[in-house]
């Protein structure tokens, strides 16, 4: 692999993607707290940078398969805010007309193909998208994201084995946030680094600090280049941390205080913001201006979602089956 340069411009791009995720996540949590939004919600707080650092390498035509905890991946992939928010609001204007909801966001125009609520199930499906690309030679890359807990389910194993054999253009991105619901990594996963599991599938496997924008960006660049070049899949384990409990409302009492605080000290958001400023590519004022722009777009999209109608009751019978071909 050639080693591309992680320029300040790239750093800024990563920051901007991550910051958009971060502001939306904060907004959503506020809405949920105040009861103005009532939806299942799995905060990606802590995992913004890794998603953004991967996202900047992807084309809109590339495919994404993600999970219930996937809003950061979807945003990094470029999903527009209005249909996304309206789906959280269960509205007819939502990406899925309010029928799928937060756990099942789909937006093919930006390559968001599947969001699953079943742990590990995205991986076999990602193989299929990648297989189609391989057959069509369309040069697309499929990214599938999942948690550390998911690396222990059978579907993970079957998918990686098949991808390794078929040299599919797919990237398996394991976001190791050290917890699966309330269970600690070590209690559930019998390997020090999930990246090592790639060896079982003759596949390159890397373990990176997902909180380090540059490291994550490099690992992603390599994996995307490899897939794009037809050289096959990569397993990336991005080490990170989940700051907001499993679901919105989970107080996370099972996480020892010292552990939590040690991770807080490594929070990638302030760290990356500082790096952007240090690089000289943007000033405090620039970043604040960006925040304001994003916040304005968020408000606009929220307004859109709030103003939109609920789906018509008749929708219940639609999309169960299609018309015969």
């Amino acid at each position: 692999m050639s080693t591309p340069t992680f320029t300040p411009q790239v750093l800024l791009e990563v920051w901007r993607k991550a910051r958009q995720i971060n502001l939306i996540d904060e907004k959503f949590r506020g809405l949920l707290r105040s009861g103005r939004l009532a939806a299942v919600y799995y905060s990606p707080r802590g995992q913004e940078i890794l998603a953004a650092a991967m996202g900047v390498h992807l084309q809109p035509t590339d495919y994404l398969v993600t999970t219930y905890r996937g809003i950061h991946d979807q945003l990094a992939k470029g999903i527009p805010l209005k249909p996304l928010f309206a789906e959280y609001y269960a509205k007819a204007t939502g990406a899925c007309k309010g029928k799928g909801g937060p756990m099942h966001i789909t937006h093919p125009e930006t390559g968001v193909m599947v969001t699953t609520g079943i742990v590990g199930s995205g991986l076999p499906i990602a193989n299929g998208l990648a297989w189609a690309s391989q057959l069509k030679k369309d040069g697309r890359v499929t990214l599938v994201t999942f948690g550390d807990g998911a690396s222990n389910i059978g579907a993970f194993h079957e998918a990686l084995n098949m991808a390794g054999l078929w040299k599919l253009p797919v990237i398996f991105l394991c976001q190791n946030n050290l917890y699966g619901e309330s269970s600690k990594y070590e209690k559930c996963t019998s390997v020090d680094h999930i990246g090592e599991r790639a060896a079982s599938y003759k596949m390159p496997g890397v373990t990176v600090d997902g909180n380090d924008a540059e490291a994550m960006w490099r690992a992603s660049a390599d994996a995307v280049a490899r897939a794009r070049a037809g050289e096959g899949p990569t397993l990336i384990e991005a080490k990170t941390f989940r700051f907001m409990g499993h679901y919105f409302g989970d107080p996370g009492a099972y996480i020892p205080k010292e552990e939590y605080e040690a991770h807080l000290a490594k929070d990638p958001m302030p760290k990356t913001r500082a790096a952007v400023l240090a690089s000289g590519i943007a000033t405090e004022a620039d970043l604040e201006k960006y925040d304001a722009e994003v916040n304005a777009k968020i408000e606009e999209a929220l307004q859109f979602a709030a103003d939109s109608p609920f789906p018509d009751v008749g929708e219940i019978d639609i999309d169960v089956y299609g018309a015969a071909a």
Binding site: G98, K99, H104, G117, S183, P311
Partner: protein, 342 residues
């Protein structure tokens, strides 16, 4: 454990479903050292389970007997099966019923069949606790009622309670039964209360329960809709309509005798469940009734169930998806009308 109501001498103690499940597990572990548990997040280090049903158990009975597992449903059910072959009574938790799609091979090809295939040399006394139900806004992959699949599998027992006391007695019934049992906990009613059970009182599996006696029409079902049926029966008394409510308790193998006896008496039946209508358990109940009582029925046996679609996220649509108490009422009235027209 925290939801226990304070009791006075006069009023019976009221407990929630969650408390009933917890007590059953606790008492089973106390009664029998071979009762062991496994599932995701179930130990106290992980907060005692996402629904807190197992809270306190690992602390009291030890982490060896109450084990948090990886997210590996095949391994969970497999481990339960294996341990049961070696004389244990494992209780496996599959967090939500949609995740039971993962260990289907273990359940159907192994748990249900090993007694038969071994010619009775081994058997699989496991209980699989799972939870489900639409109405909580969790969408297409977290709400399914799939009991009909397991009812169709010989060797399996399928059980679901409609009151906290039944929850307690039937869960004990499953744990101490010698066959693989699927015990379904309803997600929506978990905080609803009912009179507390008598400690240690096991409800044996395989018997339906006449939850309320009546003479005009039988409502036959199981689980949450039985609660709607009881409310409806109460309401219709005012109009002089006498409804009998038959709670299967054990969905399969079904206690056909009790069902037929009830419908033979009333001449009319409405069958109800939360699962989608088509190819659901209700069809079997209907088929058995008409096979046994052809010519004696005063009306067709009607079915009330949810719609044949994926469970939608939006509450507007989710409500439309779900069977409703009003549907049961309408069916009962239609049944009674047919009867009087004849």
């Amino acid at each position: 454990m925290s939801a226990t109501a304070t009791t006075t001498e006069a009023k019976p103690e009221m407990i929630t479903f969650t408390e009933a499940f917890s007590r059953a597990l606790h008492d089973a572990m106390e009664m029998d050292p071979t009762v062991i548990m496994l599932g995701e997040d179930i130990a106290d280090e992980e907060g005692g389970g996402i629904f807190k049903v197992t809270k306190g158990l690992s602390t009291k009975f030890g982490g060896e007997r109450v084990r948090t597992t990886p997210i590996s449903e095949q391994a969970i059910v497999g481990a339960a099966i294996g341990a049961s072959l070696a004389g244990m009574r494992p209780v496996a938790e599959i967090m939500l019923m949609n995740f039971i799609t993962v260990p289907m091979d273990q359940i159907v090809n192994h748990a249900a069949k090993l007694r038969f295939m071994s010619g009775g040399q081994t058997h699989v006394p496991i209980t699989i606790r799972t939870r489900t139900g639409a109405g909580a806004g969790t969408g297409g992959q977290h709400s399914d009622m799939l009991e009909a699949w397991f009812a169709h599998v010989a060797g399996m027992k399928v059980v679901t309670p409609s009151t906290p006391a039944d929850a307690y007695g039937l869960l004990l019934g499953c744990i101490f039964d010698n066959d693989p049992c699927l015990f379904i906990e309803d997600q929506l009613t978990r905080t609803q209360t009912g009179p507390a059970p008598v400690k240690g009182e096991i409800i044996k599996l395989g018997k339906a329960h006449i939850a309320r006696e009546g003479t005009d029409v039988s409502i036959v079902g199981y689980g949450r809709p039985i609660r709607d049926a009881m409310a409806l029966a109460e309401k219709l008394t005012g109009e002089g309509i006498s409804v009998e409510v038959v709670d299967l308790r054990t969905v399969s193998p079904m206690d056909t005798e009790t069902v037929i006896k009830s419908v033979a008496k009333t001449g009319r039946a409405v069958v109800v469940h939360e699962a989608p209508r088509s190819f659901g358990c209700g069809a079997e109940i209907v088929a058995r009734i008409q096979e046994a009582l052809y010519g004696q029925l005063k009306a067709p046996v009607l079915r009330v169930a949810s719609r044949d679609v994926t469970v939608p996220f939006s509450r507007v649509l989710e409500a439309e998806y779900l069977y409703k108490g009003a549907d049961i009422e309408a069916a009962v009235r239609r049944t009674l009308d047919t009867g009087s027209r004849k």
